[in-house]
Symmetry: none
DNA sequence: TCTCCTTTTGAATCGACGA
DNA sequence: CTCGTCGATTCAAAAGGAG
């Protein structure tokens, strides 16, 4: 959906160096379909933490996670969110992940800037770090906020694909997934973890399958070691990464070079009836699949006759298949396609069968 | 822990009428051990919502949940929080429950006022209302914030009691509990629900066991129909309720009169048996155990390829592992978990092996 | 009383498109 | 803009009723 000029101006599938607020300011507005952001959590750790066996926990103590006050953190948040919002297309959306240290401030800032929250999603970790001191509950989840650019945004939501991913029941707002460990966890030459808060690919897989389409542009302003880019590449989405730390950038670039894109068939995803072309009921009459004068039957024996223009008459009611069905049932609305049947060889046949025939021809 | 004079001044185990901000101002400072608050969520619903069968959803349209703007909601939040904080003893703590509509604003206000967040706790509903229009994820959880009066507060945390409640492993920050239905749900003379958002006793049971001791004073400034009071009474804690709606107050008082101390009802609902967790096939794909594009093999050499949403494609058939297996065999049904295998190092491996791996992690 | 099936219901920010 | 029309969309529990 990008024009040539936009596409030319966008540095796709690269990791841009620098501070994300400054770099985002250089990119063209309304050019990005989705933003996934994993900003610093502002953890406020005091001293170091030791396990019961006295070994030291390797916590997040990097300078980039340190802010002088809530106020400073809020200023930072509002700046990067504002820059990010400028880059979103009108129907774009954003995901932000955080913990209780920062997510309330991020959520309030999103609302204040006009983003429209669609869901908050809980990532339940199957294998969280235990609470070694027994002073609080095990912090076993993180929170993601999914928001449209504004209330009017017609955001992408692949409902049927996520439903398929969840064994045929609609996807819920709590996602149970393991943290990033094992081979997936990037390590430096010394065997230490390359990034303290590397997110699992499974998390990004679900986000991108659910809220983007192949060919969409996904921006990650806190790219880190590039989980967003890796999954985007696998799924045939374009990405833009921004990362100011050279070490993380190098790790991400090495990682991305090894990623293969899934083939076209694998990228296809379950779609529902919404994606199908519309078929006017009148077309069934025009094509002679149903004849004017023929009688249709409703679910409880209601009858109506077809007129030459594809409207129905029942009793004193006239109108579309939907309107007559709704009127007969005293219902506020009705899907005429699933309401009415016709007779063929003594059998009741739903009219939706005929619509499916036409759609099959169109495919 | 209360002195004689404080105890004398406190209206214990009663439901006080009136606006909570005004009523709290009349109570003595530093007199309460714990506050549990379920403030209005500011839902901002538009129009009515119908189920696919055309029945109408009885949503929250009460005047008390309506605010003119985020700004108005913030002012309200800061006022009641500030009044509540004055009432807390130095080592007191607060719980606030909310949804994505309001919880970010509440969380930020808590931090701004000097409360110190201890955990955010996710209430995962076993039986949430589905998303009827298929436009978002099922909103299947609510969020609670647990915070000390300030960073120095030596808050109460009954670590071992919660660990015992959780089958001997540390209590996590995600709690899986059913919503309030059935006999527990209070109804008026007409059989309608007495309160639109009654919380389950199991939730309060866990909160009060974990963060109060017998004899503590628990304040609920948005008392509603009195779940907090009922569970407090059962558990031998004192409570103070504030509720401005007379109908809710009467329902709460009738309810409380029937509650006996040490009633085991709440305990029973808290500990439920766990069934074997369902593992969607899609999770094997998300987690990279199987790749999109990879080929699965059936018992007699049938093949199908995996797509990014966890569905299979074989010939012209698309669907779940079960559906495609059944279609290829011309069978009415099929257990895809035992039907399909994948290749690893030249060997055929049943996909069920991978499901067992995931279940082992969850156990 | 027990089983089986049907009905009801729950804190919900729940369209798209053309005229 | 608004307005009218098309037509897509639900899961787990518990209550209630039939046999």
């Amino acid at each position: 959906m990008t024009t040539m000029t936009e596409a030319a101006a966008l540095p796709l599938n690269r990791v841009l160096p620098g501070d994300c607020i400054e770099v985002m300011a250089t990119l063209p507005e309304a050019s990005v379909d989705l933003i996934f952001a994993d900003p610093p959590y502002n953890l406020q750790l005091r001293g170091d933490l030791r396990r019961p066996d006295n070994s030291r926990v390797d916590g997040v103590d990097d300078a980039w996670d340190s802010f002088a006050s809530f106020d400073a953190y809020d200023r930072f948040t509002r700046q990067w969110l504002s820059a990010a919002r400028r880059l979103l297309k009108p129907d774009g959306a954003i995901w932000v992940i955080g913990s209780y240290h920062n997510i309330f401030r991020v959520g309030a800032a999103l609302q204040d800037q006009g983003f429209w929250i669609l869901n908050d999603v809980v990532w339940r970790k199957t294998n969280p770090m235990p609470n070694f001191r027994g002073k609080r509950l095990t912090n076993a989840h993180e929170t993601m906020i999914w928001a449209g650019r504004d209330q009017a945004a017609k955001y992408t939501f692949n409902y049927d694909a996520l439903k398929a991913l969840n064994d045929g029941v609609q996807m819920r707002s709590d996602w149970t997934l393991p943290i990033c460990t094992g081979h997936e966890r990037l390590r430096d030459e010394d065997g230490d973890k390359a990034h303290p808060t590397q997110k699992p690919q499974s998390l990004l897989h679900r986000v991108l399958v659910g809220s983007t389409n192949p060919g969409d542009v996904v921006l990650d302003p806190f790219f880190g070691t590039g989980t967003t880019g890796a999954v985007a590449k696998m799924l045939g989405r374009d990405f833009i990464g921004i990362e100011r730390d050279e070490g993380y950038r190098r790790a991400a670039e090495a990682r991305l070079a090894d990623v293969r894109r899934f083939d076209a068939t694998a990228l296809q995803v379950t779609t529902g009836k919404r994606a199908e072309p519309r078929v006017p009921f009148g077309q069934l009459v025009e094509r002679g699949m149903l004849r004017p004068g023929e009688t249709l039957t409703g679910p409880r024996g209601q009858t109506a006759r077809i007129r030459a223009d594809g409207t129905l008459v029942a009793d004193r009611i006239t109108g579309s298949i939907h309107q007559v069905g709704a009127a007969l049932d005293g219902a506020p609305s009705c899907n005429g396609w699933t309401y009415w049947s016709f007779q063929r060889e003594g059998q009741r046949v739903p009219i939706d069968i005929l619509r499916q025939q036409i759609r099959a021809e169109l495919a």
